[in-house]
Subunit: 493 residues, 2 copies
């Protein structure tokens, strides 16, 4: 078997990484780097045109060609940017095209004599999972969660709708009756939603694997699920033994701040960090002006990730940069507030460094994330489509000057950081575990041998109900018979 020992004597092997692009790559990269640093041979499969995925120090890349060019990708992305609230570029249509290309690359992988010990992938786009099944390699998933709860279905994890809020509902774990009705309806529609989201992949799976199998079943093969969640942010819910919460994976991945940022962070009044994620490239001018107007009225400096040319009326306390070292800025003691689109990575970085937040969710899981943080009293949520300078100013003043936000945040941050093992180390540990033991079968619940009828014991209930019914009917007949006999006897008397 093609594994070997490193010079330190630790187990080393070969890991294939099939990532998703955009922010999904952030955690995946951290694990890939660390696995490589520990002596494993890490191969990252990536398309020739990417948003964030790129080469790194401790892994090799396997680049596959695309059936289109950069101009086409830019066109799709620019189209996405037209409609505010629809910035789903990172999870959108092009991933599907990538996946077809990945099918193609699998053939290449099959020709390579080296055998991989495990595949690390993001199951949201199940390309990696399909390749793993084709090659007969155990899978480690890294994900935030699949909107239609396909992850919960594939792990067999119970998710009672009475206190486990569904994606896109913005609900918390404490729901009134009306909210529970909504949540239950959404949960009832989940299987349908999964079908809609994954029907093309279901087809691809059947063709590619040459067996009658859908994505749900392929995913239920997975050995370990690394969930980028943490219960300081996510509401407590049941978990299965092969699900490992690793939220906040890049909290400790730190670098010193660039020197030119020094004057911006060393002011007495502190500063505000403002970023809107990798998927939002261009902000509509009128919204830019709303933000600038509010910033003009606060004493803090503002560091804003803004990829266009800075408007002429940009106030002096605002510095616009096409890229900001977000985690390092938030780690600076001068950080007073964090204006964020509430993507999970950003929230974890804010949580890690205890910076109160003004959240302007745009799409995807962001409204849910924002609702979770707001329910903890560590930030406020604003609607970006109707935002005014007054709202923003009030929100900023609140989280900066009302000490309760900072105090709640410090408490929550202390809980978040107080874990028996660093989430990055934990992710690496379980990836290595799967490589060492060729899977983790002993952690997989026996739910997959059951159909839904058996799972809910409906057959058992039907039997017991029948028995009770037969018993009642027989008793009634008996009584009737006795009564008749008795009354006949009386007549005879």
């Amino acid at each position: 078997f093609s594994t070997w020992k490193s010079h330190t004597g630790a187990y080393v092997g070969k890991l294939l990484v099939v990532p998703m692009d955009g922010s999904h790559w952030v955690g995946m990269k951290a694990i890939s780097q660390e696995m490589g640093r520990r002596g494993h041979r890490v191969t990252v499969v990536m398309p020739e045109i990417t948003i964030l995925i790129g080469p790194g120090e401790h892994y090799e890349t396997l680049i596959y060609p695309l059936p289109f060019d950069k101009a086409f990708v830019d066109f799709i992305m620019s189209k996405n940017e037209d409609v505010l609230g629809k910035y789903d570029g990172e999870d959108g249509g092009k991933d599907f095209v990538y996946s077809i290309a990945l099918m193609w690359i699998t053939l290449k992988l099959l020709l390579i004599p080296q055998r991989f010990d495990a595949v690390l992938t993001d199951p949201m786009v199940p390309t990696g999972s399909l390749i793993a099944r084709k090659l007969g390699i155990p899978t480690v998933n890294l994900l935030r969660g699949i909107p239609c709860f396909l992850d919960m279905q594939s792990t067999g994890c119970p998710s009672p709708p009475s206190y486990v809020p569904r994606f896109f509902t913005g609900l918390t774990d404490k729901m009134d009756f009306k909210q529970r009705v909504i949540n239950t309806l959404v949960s009832a529609l989940e299987p349908l939603l999964c079908r809609l989201i994954y029907w093309r992949f279901d087809q691809i799976a059947k063709e590619f694997l040459e067996e009658d199998v859908g994505v749900a079943e392929v995913l239920s093969d997975s050995a370990i699920w690394l969930h980028r969640i943490d219960f300081t942010m996510e509401f407590p819910r049941p978990f299965m033994p092969n699900m490992v919460p690793v939220g906040g994976i890049n909290c400790n991945v730190r670098n010193p701040l660039p020197e030119d940022l020094e004057p911006w962070v060393s002011g007495k009044q502190g500063f505000v960090v403002f970023t809107l994620g990798t998927s939002m490239k261009k902000m509509p001018d009128e919204i830019t002006q709303v933000f600038l107007e509010a910033f003009r009225q606060i004493p803090q400096k503002v560091i804003w990730r803004y990829s266009e040319v800075a408007p002429d009326n940009t106030p002096e306390n605002v510095k616009m940069m096409s890229w900001v070292p977000q985690n390092d800025l938030l780690a600076h003691p001068g950080a007073r507030a964090f204006i964020t689109h509430a993507g999970s990575h950003g929230l974890f970085e804010g949580l890690c460094h205890a910076v109160p937040m003004v959240m302007v969710p745009i799409g995807g899981d962001q409204p849910d994330n924002a609702a979770r943080m707001a329910s903890r009293g560590v930030g406020v949520v604003l609607d970006i489509s109707s935002i005014t300078a007054e709202d923003l100013l009030q929100g900023l003043n609140e989280v900066i000057n009302d000490t309760r936000y900072k105090e709640n945040m410090k408490r929550l941050s202390a809980l978040h950081r107080d874990r028996p093992i660093d989430p990055l180390d934990l992710s690496v540990y379980w990836t290595e575990f799967v490589m060492r033991h060729k899977g983790a079968k002993h952690l997989k619940a026996a739910v997959h041998d059951l159909n839904w009828f058996q799972y809910f014991c409906l057959d058992v209930i039907a039997l017991l109900a029948t028995i009770v019914l037969v018993f009642i009917v027989l008793t009634a007949k008996c009584l009737k018979f006795c009564c008749r006999k008795l009354s006949r006897k009386r007549k005879q008397d």
Copy 2:
């Protein structure tokens, strides 16, 4: 607040330990010792007469008087030993007497000016939990599991009867229809079983706490549940965020073997370890003879924990001792087989050191434990009430000479020992966590705000069913009305 820093600068505080006696004390002692070693002030509450609980190096004891003497305890224990299969001495009636005494000691604790940061206890006997609630201190539970699944009820952890086998059924996670009927019936009877087991404690709770509260509600207060299980032995099942599996806590608590055992363990053929737990003091003579007869026919040496005088006809290869260093013996490379009553502690030690097992469960959770290990192909189960020398000889030969048992055991042991953090360290970590943060509220699911009707969304389902019904009725009425109109019109035509 009465906490202080140790010389190493780490957080230290005060821990109150309210243990259960017998084998339950083993893991509790390991945690108490380690907590004390790390500089915490650990106070173990114990009665003046005990089976295993005693003073240790790193903790202080608070001894309370009992309303009876040692003769009485011996009498109870000797009575228990009369009937094979009823060796419930460690969980039996006397614990109840202890608990009343503990109520009494609480008053003493209330008079002590020191404030404890947490209570570490075994919730099976909820004395510690009641004291914690009375004193307003967060609780850490260490337990194997409560037979009526009260732990699952109190944590709000789903336990689908379709693949989560119940206590005392001896079932596995793969059940046929008949077995699922049994398991479902047992699970339906659990609430009643809990009532029966805990009705006296429910009364005590009401009186002692002076509020209308039962044991289930008191236990749902608990911050962290350390479950002495591991998924190499336990079947995979849902877990809640505040439940931590820490099975195999004393795997690494090791000492060198006493010198007089050296000739017994150094033989070429290896040796068999034979123990039947702390609760079995005297074995009936006829069963002793069955074992001796079998041992006479094997080439291995046997080290037998036997507290009575060795019978005259004890063969030369058998050494009887009133106490054996079980974990250290199993860790010896010469250990070929482990004859055990399948108590969880013994099984974890055998699992830790990869020794195949012949299991003779006596009572309690032992038949279930044995079924779990047997389903992994690492040992055989024999019925002690009808055991013959031939059965035993065959069982021993099988696990010693059929290499599959050893191979399965080595594989399972490797999985068991491959964990990101040692279970003892993990237990200490979460105990310290609760002390540091005054609980772990963020890990508690919002199930306790819901009654069972709301939990299963029965109110929502009722509403939706009503809406559907009203819709159907209205549609039917409409159609009827239209039909009538139509037919009337035709008649008029």
